[in-house]
């Protein structure tokens, strides 16, 4: 079986936060306790969307030590393939859904003498759990949170209420921007920086930190890539001897699973490396979108991460 352990849950609360973001609470169907987790962990939510099974990762934002329920916040993406639209439009109070055990690809470095959190938009969610964890452990942290405007700044008020000294907010519509260079160069030795937000923000933080002489191991980031729609293509699965058609609105991994082939995965967001698949033959171009393969591996044409990457061309043969 692929993926993490499963939990049968029901939706016990749906809370719209603003125009784009809605919060969902899950509890176990059998009334039992959920596993504790570490701040930064995500759960993979299974959605039965017509004929398609979608599995999307969402950061857990609740108190990691609270075993009564999990909460996630989902931002509606009108351009995407529909996972977030499904959550917003189809999911109703009391619905039963399958979610995965927590998996953490964005954990705190517990040695850090200080944790510096940089959030962009919905990227705030993993930090909410990490902040709760650090509060319990008396950790030293500081948050810089950038949003389009106050109305879209999910949880900003709550954060400033509870942690007025640690929380710093920046609104685009007021032309406020994180003064990143000074922020980074002023941190005491032993600080770790964590960034979660849009790709542009992650790149900006990583590049600025490198230019300021920060060690790579002190810079942590998480960006879940939602698989993007793309041109349909065909793939031959050599080991299972099947030819699979990958539709415009499904990922390569989803298409493989639809055909009943058990393929490994964990994050389904191009970050964990579990779905790495060997390419036996190809005639065409890869659309690599993952964070896992190195540039050389991508250029070699010998590997693909089917959870987020696609293919355009005549033929593709995978060892699966």
């Amino acid at each position: 079986m692929s993926g993490a352990e499963k939990i049968q849950a029901k939706v016990t609360e749906i809370t719209p936060l603003n125009e784009l973001v809605t919060r969902f609470r899950f509890e176990r169907i059998d009334g039992g306790q959920l596993p504790t987790f570490s701040g930064g962990a995500h759960t993979v939510v299974e959605m039965q969307d017509g004929g398609i099974t979608r599995l999307n990762p969402y950061s857990l934002m609740s108190d990691p030590f609270d075993q009564s329920s999990y909460t996630i916040s989902v931002r509606r993406d009108d351009e995407g393939r529909g996972g977030s639209l499904f959550m917003h439009r189809q999911v109703k109070l009391g619905d039963e859904m399958t979610i995965s055990y927590p998996v953490n690809l964005f954990s705190l470095d517990l040695r850090a003498r200080k944790h510096l959190f940089l959030a962009g938009g919905i990227g705030i969610t993993p930090f909410l759990a990490q902040i709760k964890q650090l509060e319990l452990l008396h950790g030293h942290w500081e948050l810089h949170y950038a949003c389009r405007n106050h109305a879209l700044a999910s949880y900003a008020d709550q954060l400033t209420d509870r942690h007025p000294n640690e929380t710093h907010l920046y609104y685009d519509d007021q032309n406020q921007q994180i003064d990143l260079e000074n922020l980074l160069s002023g941190q005491p030795l032993g600080t770790h920086v964590y960034v979660c937000g849009p790709k542009g923000m992650i790149d900006w933080v990583r590049n600025t930190a490198a230019a300021e002489g920060w060690p790579e191991d002190c810079v942590h980031y998480e960006e879940f890539l939602a698989p993007q729609p793309g041109k349909p293509f065909e793939v031959r699965l050599a080991a299972s001897d099947k030819v699979v058609h990958v539709g415009e609105n499904e990922s390569l991994l989803e298409a493989i699973e639809r055909e009943g082939v058990d393929a490994p995965y964990l994050c389904r967001g191009g970050a964990c490396g579990q779905c790495e698949t060997v390419v036996l033959d190809h005639d065409g171009n890869f659309v690599h979108r993952d964070h896992w393969l190195t540039d050389e591996e991508k250029a070699s044409g010998k590997k693909i991460m089917p959870c987020v990457s696609r293919f355009e061309g005549k033929s593709l043969v995978l060892d699966r």
């Binding site: 352990e5 570490s38 040695r111």
Partner: protein, 355 residues
């Protein structure tokens, strides 16, 4: 089933012994007639009833005596148990994992009563009844990892996971096959495995690490490892090697049957929830050659494995000098008949020794 705990020693007069029950359930590590390193990992979700694989943490007849031996080692050398400062949370995770598992798997021996963070732990074999506050170190006599691993058989390495790597940042190590926690603490997966021959070049550690980094909550794994020990000495540490090393030279054809022990480690891997650390319990089982030879299949197989083991491995495992004497003894139990696949004794189906 109630366990009769042995009163025995793992040093000096070596009164350690295995009952028939313990021999039958001994985790014989060879599934075929030869041995080479491999990425031999499988899920740890129970096993045949009564086997050492059945429970998350196996408790057997040696429990009480092993815990006494551990206490003696720690009295002499507290450095055998260490935890770097950032590993305390993982220690609480481990304490919870062991208390919950043992109280569920052995309710007649262990009880855990939880009311929020107020916990009461009852360990009947060791006579402990202790109430404490979960996550409050001041309510325990030791740190959480030390507290619970003084009550759990086997060594424990607690690995921090960061930067796509595992780091040995805490542990309780008193029954080790000749490696030092005090020396290795803080090392990464490749560094602490550095002395192992061949496996690096075979790519075993790269693949094993990938597997371990992806072990998830609720989905533990396990593997077996083995070596040889003269006398049932649990504490074969480098720290004391200047004292026990000489025991290897006391082996004679007359005493080898009861002095030479196959030492098997049942190694398990659990993801710890709050810390995202990984715990690696290393449970040591000892069995004398003469007890092993009561199982015809094991007799035939052990001879062939030891005979054909590559020299580097016999050297690394520290029995190259004694190998000829071992083979003289073991060859008596090998009649050349084929053996059935797998590790189980197959007492009903395997023919008796025909020589």
């Amino acid at each position: 089933m109630t366990i009769q705990f042995n009163d025995e020693s793992f040093r000096d007069d070596y009164t350690f012994h295995n009952s028939d029950w313990a021999i039958k359930r001994f985790p014989f590590p060879f599934h075929e007639d030869s041995y080479m390193y491999s990425v031999n990992m499988e899920q740890h979700r129970g096993g045949p009833e009564g086997s050492v694989y059945e429970m998350r943490f196996d408790v057997d007849e040696h429990y009480v005596s092993e815990m006494k031996d551990r206490a003696m080692v720690l009295d002499q050398d507290p450095l055998r148990c260490q935890s770097l400062p950032h590993m305390t949370l993982a220690g609480w995770d481990l304490l919870e994992l062991i208390m919950v598992s043992k109280s569920e798997d052995y309710p007649e021996l262990f009880e855990l009563h939880r009311n929020g963070n107020q916990w009461r732990w009852i360990n009947k074999p060791l006579g402990i009844d202790h109430s404490f506050t979960f996550m409050d170190e001041t309510t325990l006599p030791y740190g959480p990892m030390e507290y619970i691993t003084r009550q759990a058989q086997g060594d424990f390495a607690v690995l921090d996971q960061r930067d796509e790597m595992l780091w040995m940042d805490a542990g309780m190590v008193t029954t080790q096959a000749d490696w030092s926690l005090d020396f290795d603490i803080g090392m990464n997966f490749f560094e602490w495995h550095a002395p192992v021959p061949k496996a690096h070049e075979m790519g075993i550690f790269q693949r094993a690490l990938k597997f371990l980094l992806n072990i998830q909550q609720g989905a533990p794994a396990r593997r077996l490892n083995w070596t040889m020990t003269v006398n049932p000495l649990l504490d074969t540490s480098p720290e004391n090697y200047h004292k026990w090393g000489i025991q290897k030279t006391t082996l004679t054809p007359e005493n080898i049957a009861h002095k030479q022990h196959l030492r098997v480690e049942l190694q398990t891997f659990f993801r710890l929830p709050r810390s995202n650390a990984l715990v690696f319990p290393i449970r040591c089982y000892l069995c004398s050659f003469q007890d092993l030879m009561t199982v015809p299949k094991w007799g035939r197989r052990l001879h062939r494995v030891i005979r054909d083991l590559p020299e580097e491995l016999a050297t690394y495992k520290g029995f190259i000098d004694n190998r000829p004497m071992m083979l003289d003894y073991l060859s008596q139990f090998d009649d050349g008949l084929p053996t059935s696949p797998g590790i189980w004794p197959d007492l009903e189906t395997e023919p008796p020794l025909s020589k």
